[in-house]
Symmetry: C2
């Protein structure tokens, strides 16, 4: 049994929930407000960031990238042809490249500023950086979403899934980050049909359902958030 | 034969040079000034960052984390007991945790701001962000180096190498980032004897020698940079 220290709108945590779901693994969820820097949480992950996965007999596993590698090494082969980090080297490289693209670049340029400004800041004390959202940060992040969406659309048009013929971690990472900001209505789906059609496919997977049921008091979901034919 | 697109003072590139050296693999080095966003380089790595490794028959491999995983998967077993990403799961987790710690956290908080302000900016055009170094950025980064150095010292005192009994990617990543800013004289070694003794051991390895011979016109190396008994 796994325990995942996560936040409902942390894009990296969402990615790992999707990955556990696709692996068919059960998890217990513990909500962590990383910005509160809870001492027991820092003992699990000195970097103080979500997600952290704990698994029996192993040290805590911090960070989306590490957890994905761990899940593949321990449970990847069980998925056979549906393995989320394929075994052919050229495909591994492409999947890992796109995982890093979304977990690092998209996070830094788009999902993290949007989620921080529009969600986390509501819960942060002033001392932790809380307060009103910064309009200029949001504007810059929304502009970045547009070029990322075009890149996703280009990949989705060129291939069946983002990294190739089959569903991989790359799709789950991309969809996880998008879903957090889609809740906020910050994805201009109208601009890219291919990206939208790809996202509709990922969103309709059973592993996605738990994410779509996450609602935040005081922050209504966008009109299309739960709609599978948005 | 590998080709590494790198920059002499890019800490991630230094890490990969050490990793290739420890694996006993030859490489051809191509200097890349990532901030110039050369078109042919963006085709290799759309994220536009160094390092990128090219290996025959594989797509380009971008980023320190991906390259380390690739090298371990293709050449790790050859090292036997000296494998840089150990095969026991608990050790893999700890090595990957520390690799990410240095390649992401230390990079963001310390090595990247220092190298950018004090080295890259000298070569950047004004349009690319060049100009005089920002004193406040340097001050903040130097303060961060101190707490990271204490953490390294604590790890080195508790264990033989940073992640455990043997040399791993964790040591190479930490030493690579430190070496780039040690050139600038930005590591207060006097504050932590254990960290200093650990670094002296890594620095005296043959894989380190090529890094110590990198000199930058107009930016003299710190007094202790090449000294193995600094």
């Amino acid at each position: 049994m796994f325990t995942l220290f996560h936040h409902s709108f942390c894009p990296h945590s969402r990615f790992i929930r999707l990955a556990l779901g696709e692996h068919g693994l059960e998890m217990r969820l513990v909500e962590e407000r990383a910005w509160e820097r809870r001492e027991a949480f820092l003992a699990l992950n000195p970097a103080g960031t979500t997600p952290v996965l704990t698994a029996e007999g192993q040290p805590p596993i911090p960070g989306a990238g590490l957890i994905a590698e761990y899940l593949d090494e321990t449970h990847g082969a069980d998925l056979g042809e549906r393995r989320l980090l394929p075994s052919v080297m050229a495909e591994r490289i492409e999947v890992r490249r796109l995982m890093a693209w979304f977990n690092e670049k998209f996070f830094e340029e788009a999902s993290n500023p949007l989620v921080t400004e529009r969600i986390y800041k509501r819960f942060m004390s002033e001392q932790n950086g809380g307060g009103a959202p910064a309009a200029d940060v949001i504007r810059a992040a929304k502009a970045n979403v547009r070029y990322h969406l075009a890149y996703i659309g280009w990949l989705a048009k060129t291939r069946n899934f983002l990294a190739g013929d089959r569903l991989t971690y790359a799709d789950l990472a991309a969809a996880a980050h998008l879903s957090a900001i889609d809740y906020l209505g910050d994805v201009p789906w109208i601009e890219d049909d291919a990206a939208k059609a790809w996202y509709a496919r990922i969103k309709s997977r059973p592993s996605f359902r738990p994410l779509l049921s996450e609602w935040l008091a005081g922050v209504p979901a966008s009109r299309t958030y739960v709609d599978l034919d948005f």
